[in-house]
Structure formats: C-alpha cells, structure tokens
C-alpha cells in the first residue's frame, strides 16, 4: 500500500510536468485552433539554453526565469516569422508547418548542442521525507511546487488581467475583437510566447529526471497530447487535470499491469489518446463540438 502511495505521489509530480506542456498545447489551440507539434521541441531547446547558462556558473534559480523570458521571446519570434504568413491556411498546412518546425528545432539543437546526452543538475535535494509513512522525494515535491506556481500564474494572467482578457477575446472572436481595437495578430504572437514559456517549464523540470538530448521530449509530448485530449483540448483546467491523471496512470500501469514495464508506458499514452478520442472526443472538460453547415 505504501508503494502504491509513493507511486501516486511521483505520478503527480510527473503529471505536473505533462500538465505544463499540455497547457502550452491548449494555449495555442485556443488561440488558433491548432495542435502545435513543435511544442515539445521548443521546450527541449529552451532546456538546452537553461543548461548552457547553468554550466557557465549561473545559479538554477536565476537561469530558470531568464530561460522562460528567452522562451517567451522565442515563441513570439516563431509566430511572427513562420506562422504569421499562413495564419489563415487550412489545418493541414498548419500541422505540416509545425511538424517542419519540430524537425528544424530538433536538428538545430543537435547542431548547436550536440547529440551526447547530458545530465541536467537538479535544483532539489535527492533526499526523501516521511509524510504519514510515505517516503516522498524532495525532487517530486519541488516539481509539484514549481508547476503549481506556474499554473497559478497562468491562471491569474488569463483570468484577472486586462492582457489575459484581451488574449481570450482575440481567440474567442477575432472579428469583434479587431473592431474593438484589439491587435489580434499580436495577441496570437503573445499566445505563442506564453505557450513557449509554459512549455519550457516542463522541459526544465523533466531534464533532471531524464537525460538532456535533442530527442528528450519525444515521449513527453505524447503524454502531453494524451493529457490535453483527456482534459478536452480547449480547457486549461482540463489540461492540468489530464496531466495529473496521465502521470499517475502511467506510473501505476508500469508497476502493476503485467508486461507493461518501462518501454510500453508510451503505449499506455497512445491507448489513452485513442480511447478518449473514440469514447469521449470532447474530453472531460471540453465543450461538445457543434458543426455548422
């Protein structure tokens, strides 16, 4: 039983990582109805930037916010340069472009930082503490705390500031917002910047657990897809809940379902995606899709 609770706690920590990447996907989906296949690679690139800062002697707690600001700028730059020319293109075009972006960023990271896996220093101690008989790692607690702060910050930004309101308005009804003086295209860029920064959090938090290399996020993005789909791809709250559920599920599945083990955990992610899409395509918190003829 104790093992079970330990798995749940570490599952929540992993789930928090998935949740921030899933939230990044949701932000871009809400802004322009697109799943950004490059989200994981963007996070990986930001993590490499943080790594380069840290090995040059910058402390983790300074490198972390600096990287987020850089990722924010990078997200805006990508939207301005690559996405803006095709803002109104069909979904097919946009998906292919984000895939091209993912491939490019992956190759670029390999070119700039190399393909040798690097171990990313963890800011948290490796010790564990005893909470009601369950041993919880500081690493897990730290990840949960950082994710909670970031998610709360995004929530406050979206729901309680003018910028957040404009952002949501531009996504919800571009024409009306434009008539009311909102610069819709720049709001999209802002959405990309925000998503890029939130996604970077997941990369930086997951890097100490995995090893840092250009393919690091390839499996994480699948879990983030599963989380976003499970929560309903347009719901930020759903992304968080979905992330936690996926994190705990794959942890428990790896331990308790025979034959699953480490390498087939990814298949559990795929199974979640397919099951949700077939049984409940709107996810837990999504609105039912209405097709207008």
């Amino acid at each position: 039983m104790q093992e079970f609770f330990q798995l749940v706690v570490s599952g929540i920590a992993t789930g928090g990582i998935f949740a921030s990447l899933a939230l990044a996907l949701v932000l871009i989906y809400n802004a322009m109805g697109l799943v950004n296949f490059a989200q994981g690679e963007m996070a990986m690139f930001a993590t490499f930037v943080a790594y380069e800062l840290i090995i040059r002697g910058v402390s983790f707690w300074i490198a972390f916010p600096v990287t987020l600001v850089l990722a924010f700028g990078g997200g805006i730059a990508i939207q301005r340069i690559v996405i803006r020319p095709v803002e109104r293109a069909p979904v097919l075009t946009l998906v292919i472009i984000t895939l091209g972006l993912a491939t490019t960023i992956n190759g670029l990271a390999g070119f700039l930082f190399g393909y040798v896996p690097a171990s990313f220093p963890s800011p948290f101690s490796v010790r564990t503490i005893d909470v009601l008989g369950v041993y919880v790692g500081y690493q897990d607690l730290g990840v949960i705390a950082v994710t909670a702060v970031v998610l709360l910050a995004v929530y406050l930004l979206l729901e309680h500031t003018t910028v957040g309101l404009t952002l949501r308005a531009a996504a919800f009804h571009p024409e009306a917002s434009r008539l009311l003086g909102v610069h819709v295209s720049w709001m999209l860029a802002l959405g990309w910047g925000l998503a890029s920064a939130v996604g970077a959090v997941s990369g930086i938090l997951v890097a100490p657990v995995l090893l840092l290399d250009p393919d690091m996020m390839q499996s994480i993005i699948i879990y983030a897809f599963a989380a976003a789909v499970l929560g309903g791809i347009e719901s930020p709250l759903g992304a968080v809940v979905g992330g936690l559920v996926v994190g705990v599920t794959i942890n428990l599945a790896g331990a308790y379902i025979p034959h699953v083990g480490g390498d087939l955990q990814l298949a559990v992610g795929l199974a979640i995606i397919i099951a949700v899409l077939i049984l409940k395509p709107n996810g837990l918190f999504g609105r039912a899709a209405v097709r207008r003829v």
Partner: protein, 363 residues
C-alpha cells in the same frame, strides 16, 4: 495505331520516356546506386499511398511508418517461419496491411483532421517499442534478417543478352520494385480519375456537399485508408527486401515525417508528385549528410555534427518554405510555369491573327 500514337497528348510521351529511363537506368549505374534508387522507388509507392489519403481524401496521417513496418514485418515473418519465396509475400503483406488500414479507418471517421493527425503521430512514435515486445515473433531489438534473392534464370538471361553483363541481386530487386511501382501508379491513375477519385475529392472539398450529392462518405473515407495502407504494406515489404533486414529502429517517427515531406514537396493530389517527392525526400538527407564530410576546411567535430543535424534541418526548413510559398509542391510549380509559358506563347500568336486568347478558367 500510328494515328493514335501521333495524336496522343504530350504527357503520354512523357510517361513513356520516364518508364524507359527507369528501365534502362540500372544498366549504366553501379549495383549500389541501383539499390539506392530502388529504395527511392519504394518510398514513391508509399508516398503515392499517403497521397491518396492526404491529397485526395483529405485525411491527415502522420503515422504511415507504422503501416510500412507492418508490411515489412509481415513479409519477413512469413519468410522466416514458412520458408516461402519472398516475392510471393509482397501481395500478402499489401493485403494484410490494407485490411488493417481499412479497420483503422473506421474509428478515424469519428475524428476531426487535427485529432486524426494527433492519434496517428502518437502511433508513429510508439511503433518501435510495440515491435520490440513480441520477441519470438519479431526478433525483438535484433529484428529479422532477409536473404536477398538471386535473379531467376529468365531475368538474368534477358539482362545479359541486352547488356552483355550478369545481373546482380540488387539489380533484380530494383526491377521487382520498379514493376510494383509501375503497377501501383497505373492503378492509382485509373482509380483517381474515375468514380472513387472524384468521390474522394468531393469529400475533401466539402463533406456536406458530397453527402448531398449522394457520395457514401464513410465508405470512401475508409476505402481511402485501406488503399493507402495497402500501398504502404507493399512498400514495406519491398523496403525489407531492399535493405536485407527488418528491425524496430528501421521504422522511427522520422520515416513517417519523410513520407509526409515527400507527399507535400512532390505535390498533393497529383500522380507524378509522389515520384518527384520520393526522389527528393530520399536523396536530400543523403546529400545533406554527405555535404559536410566533403568540406575539408571544416574541423572534424563540426563536420560530425553537421552530418547528423543536416538532414533534419534541411527537411524542416524545406517543408516550411514549401508550405508557405508553394503549397502545391513541385508539380504545382511546374504546372504554374507551364501555364504562364503557354499563355504567353498563345498571346503572342494571337496578336498576329487578332484572336483573343480564351480565358484559361473556362477552357
């Protein structure tokens, strides 16, 4: 007969020339190059299949590498366990993969384009670890070796009478692949200019309008999935034959992306597009990774990184540029250039006779 040949449209001549080129090509190049070109043709078959799905029926699959893997493993396992002639397993692999694709198309009906892309992408990422698991069947991480067949008597006789040299097994595999490619391209051409092709395009352009005109939406969408997977299965079987083994790492996500790159760069919804796209998508990474080692002025360490990163970066950048500036790919560019040229020529001719050139939209 002569009359028919004389009045045949120029593109039939073009097709004839291309076929002659591909028939004669391996007699003048090395066996190694012949095997590279047969892999390019394998890619062309798979891309033709993906083009039927994406270009004609408008369903986006990012996981066609999984179908290729299924085809390749079907052939390899049958040959390994039952010792049949490899060539006999090619249609079996195609049909089995086609049936699986057809069944996959049924749940896909419920998904929007975006969700379908997402689910198939996840499938492509998971494929290698799914293959590794049933070790007795698939050979696990090691995979299965495939013996490359020697050319049969009749083929080597014909070959040596024409060229005067013996046929290698790479050249035989090339001709087998070419035969399959010609057959499948001819099939696709016939399929797509008749009822099924029209139905698929109608669905792609407007599902509501197609349904109102009596097109069986669900039927044609799953049919497109089945046919597309059939092509991928045949391609997979030939892929295994060409490289001489199957292993989980031969089917990474990159393979699915390579297929998509080929489809898009060649030109969506066109018949010559997949061939051009495949040649491009196959040889671009090879040349991108060979470029750096040939540059002697670069330090060795940079050379190694560029060699690794070159294919990914050039793929990604070209994919983005093509989507932004030439969404119809190479074929789209050629058609546009040809249209502009013929309008200019026609315009010049008409100035002498005083005729107004007909509006291209109404012809």
């Amino acid at each position: 007969m002569i009359e028919r040949l004389r009045t045949a449209p120029p593109r039939y001549w073009l097709v004839g020339l291309v076929v002659l080129f591909f028939l004669g090509f391996p007699t003048v190049i090395s066996s190694f190059l012949a095997s590279e070109w047969s892999q390019a043709l394998v890619l062309a078959i798979a891309i033709m299949g993906l083009n039927i799905l994406v270009g004609y029926s408008g369903q986006l699959s990012l996981g066609h590498g999984a179908f290729i893997a299924l085809g390749a493993y079907t052939s390899a396992i049958i040959v390994h366990h039952f010792k049949v002639d490899y060539l006999l397993t090619i249609p079996i692999a195609g049909i089995l993969t086609g049936v699986v694709g057809f069944l996959f198309g049924v749940p896909a009906l419920r998904l929007s384009a975006l969700y379908l892309a997402l689910a198939t992408f996840a499938l492509a990422v998971v494929t290698p670890s799914l293959i590794k698991r049933p070790t007795e069947l698939t050979g696990g991480v090691q995979g299965i070796l495939i013996a490359q067949p020697d050319p049969p008597q009749f083929a080597s006789n014909v070959y040596s009478t024409i060229t005067g040299s013996a046929m290698t097994s790479e050249q035989w595999i090339y001709y087998v692949t070419l035969f399959c490619a010609l057959l499948l391209f001819w099939l696709a051409w016939n399929l797509l200019r008749h009822r099924p092709g029209r139905a698929m395009r109608a669905i792609r352009d407007s599902e509501v309008a197609a349904a109102a005109s009596g097109v069986n939406i669900a039927g044609y969408k799953t049919l497109a999935f089945g046919i597309s997977a059939f092509y991928a299965g045949v391609a997979g079987s030939l892929f295994g034959l060409g490289i001489g083994f199957v292993s989980p790492d031969a089917f990474p996500v990159g393979l699915s992306i390579q297929l998509l790159v080929g489809t898009v760069i060649g030109g969506l919804a066109s018949i010559p597009g997949p061939l051009l796209g495949a040649i491009f998508a196959y040889f671009l990474p090879i040349y991108a990774s060979q470029w750096a080692p040939n540059q002697t002025w670069l330090p060795a360490q940079i050379t190694a990184t560029v060699k690794n990163a070159g294919p990914a970066v050039s793929y990604g950048v070209i994919l983005i540029l093509v989507m932004i500036f030439a969404p119809n790919g190479i074929v789209g560019l050629v058609t546009r250039g040809y249209g502009a040229l013929s309008r200019r020529l026609r315009g010049a001719g008409d100035r002498e006779t005083g005729h107004v050139p007909p509006d291209p939209q109404t012809v």
